[in-house]
């Protein structure tokens, strides 16, 4: 479904070339839970942003259903991210002036019933109309999970979604993502191997390079 071939991402750090990703070839298969494991600074988040079209590779190609992401314009990429992908980031980013429910409807205004059902399934039935500052960190991240799931995406990209949570809450978030993703794939990067216990496949990454399973 998503195929990255010989992908590299190079930064210029004070005139010195730094490879965030170095010649990575990887496939995300339909319906799989793919874990990408690696220490901090290993380039796993960069790989996630490349796979999701948020960043362009310095070299190599990334195809989604055979279509090169680099050939898409800004609007087409945005459309792809909005309709076909879901995102959960390290920090539970929500719009502070919108309630939990409104944060989800911001992505999909016509899906009110589904948004309410999702939030209820994620244990937030009584907190639909709470503003983010009235929710705990774990609850905020669960709202982010609901936002990622609202359009029943083909792929959910989760960038260290447990990093800002305690272990119990972290496990709960991963469990919820895995349970509710339906037929969609889940690509999760983390430095904590225990969070990938339920994954179908784990790729390890060090210094921008995939080093095997």
């Amino acid at each position: 479904m998503i195929q990255a071939t010989n992908v590299s991402l190079v930064y210029n750090d004070h005139e010195k070339k730094v490879f965030a990703c170095n010649d990575v070839t990887l496939e995300v298969k339909p319906g799989e839970f793919l874990g990408i494991l690696g220490p901090s600074g290993s380039g796993k988040s960069s790989l996630l942003y490349l796979l999701s079209g948020l960043k362009n590779p310095s070299s190599g190609t990334i195809h989604h259903h055979g279509k090169d992401l680099q050939s898409l314009n800004d609007q087409q990429r945005a459309e792809l991210r909005k309709k076909h992908f879901g995102f959960v980031f390290q920090q539970p980013f929500l719009l502070g002036y919108l309630t939990a429910l409104e944060n989800i409807l911001a992505i999909s205004p016509a899906s009110k019933q589904r948004a309410e059902d999702l939030l209820a399934e994620l244990g937030l039935r009584d907190k639909l109309h709470r503003l983010p500052h009235e929710l705990s960190g774990g609850e905020r991240q669960r709202v982010c999970v609901a936002r990622a799931l609202i359009n029943q995406p083909e792929v959910i990209f989760a960038d260290e979604p447990t990093a800002a949570l305690d272990h119990t809450n972290g496990e709960q978030v991963v469990q919820l993502l895995n349970q509710h993703r339906g037929q969609g794939s889940l690509v999760m990067v983390t430095h904590d191997p225990t969070m990938l216990a339920s994954s179908d496949r784990v790729e390890r990454m060090t210094e921008g390079t995939l080093v095997g399973r």
């Binding site: 988040s45 945005a78 991210r81 995102f87 980031f89 980013f93 502070g96 002036y97 919108l98």
Partner: protein
């Protein structure tokens, strides 16, 4: 939604624009009230052409003959009157005003021509030191029936004998009128002052301009309303240049200030923009959203400012202008025009600021918490 749920951030922005617009509109309307008051005070001169000799006091009939021979529009009446000077109060100090003395029958015609709706009190008796004034003059000089206005010991409002106000004319126009006999008896040099009225009042201006051309080179002084209009705009030309400069500086200062405020305001929303872009909104969509919000803030502030200025001007009118019969246009279109550059300039700066921010904006920097 953002504006409504972030009133603490939005209201100060709206208030800055409101204050700027209110300040500009109030200042301009109040300054415009000076020439407007002058035109209001001398508005009565649009009903006739006044002619007086400059050297030879006996020349008035000759001038009248010249001005009534083959005129471009039909003449309805010529009144020969006497006149003396008095002073009225204006926003910028005292202004000269004519006390015109005429026959009783001419008074009736004159008042009808000026649109008077009657008189409280009575007309001056022939030869008696009496006068009538219009309501505006009474309000301006704080005079009432029975008060003495012209006095032998008053150099500004002089008369050989104390002249009493015996009637108040019901009219918006400014008028001071007396009886011709009293003036003829007390003025040392008899100079007749001619008032020439066209039959069609709307053609008085056309006739006045013809008369000016016709009397070029004669030792006569003509009084016509369009001269007052011209003088009132010319005498404030420099003042308006200064005002334009001040308003220009004000617009630059406010726009710069607003630009900086907008910059801070939008900077506080970088996480929001980064997040929205990461999860599938385009730069264009975000730009459009921000522009709509900016438009609401700016146009809203402008409207509130206009309303606030109207309030301030209504208070000024009630407390200061009307009691002294000064003119003030609370809906002055020129003052409104002066406020227009404020929202436009702020909008341009806001668009520029936002566009610069979005041009190289990387949402990944936000979601990775490298840019918060």
């Amino acid at each position: 939604m953002f504006l409504r749920r972030n009133a603490g951030k939005t209201v100060p922005l709206v208030l800055v624009i409101t204050l700027a617009v209110m300040l500009i509109q109030s200042i301009i309307a109040l300054i415009n009230s000076i020439p407007l008051s002058i035109r209001t005070i001398y508005r009565y001169t649009d009903a006739f052409l006044g002619v007086s000799p400059r050297l030879d006091p006996t020349m008035t009939p000759t001038f009248v003959k010249t001005l009534t021979t083959n005129p471009p529009v039909e003449i309805e009446k010529v009144i020969l009157c006497r006149a003396s000077g008095a002073q009225v109060k204006s926003i910028v100090g005292k202004w000269p005003f004519a006390v015109m003395a005429m026959e009783r029958a001419d008074l009736d015609y004159y008042l009808q021509r000026q649109g008077a709706k009657g008189i409280t009190g009575r007309f001056p008796k022939d030869g008696a030191p009496e006068m009538i004034i219009s309501e505006s003059v009474a309000r301006n000089l704080n005079l009432k029936l029975g008060d003495t206005f012209l006095k032998p010991d008053d150099s500004e409002n002089f008369s050989r004998m104390p002249v009493k106000v015996v009637g108040i004319i019901k009219a918006d126009r400014w008028m001071m009128l007396s009886n011709k006999q009293y003036f003829a008896d007390t003025q040392p040099i008899p100079i007749d002052f001619a008032l020439i009225f066209t039959k069609d009042i709307s053609k008085q201006g056309e006739y006045d301009r013809w008369a000016e051309r016709k009397m070029k080179g004669e030792f006569a002084q003509l009084f016509a309303f369009h001269q007052i209009e011209k003088q009132s705009s010319e005498m404030f030309a420099v003042l308006y240049k200064i005002i334009n400069l001040v308003i220009g500086v004000l617009v630059i200062v406010i726009t710069t200030m607003m630009g900086m405020l907008m910059n801070i305001y939008q900077s506080q929303r970088l996480v929001e923009f980064g997040l929205l872009q990461a999860i599938g909104f385009t730069k264009q969509q975000l730009l459009k959203r921000v522009l709509i919000e900016s438009l609401i803030v700016i146009v809203g502030g402008w409207f509130v400012g206009l309303a606030a200025a109207r309030g301030v001007l209504l208070i000024a009118q009630a407390a200061l202008m009307t009691p002294n019969a000064f003119a003030l246009d609370v809906a002055d279109p020129m003052a409104l025009m002066y406020t227009v550059p404020v929202p436009i300039a702020i909008l341009i700066v806001a668009i520029g600021t936002i566009w610069l921010r979005f041009r190289n904006f990387d949402p990944v920097a936000v979601v990775e918490r490298r840019l918060v």
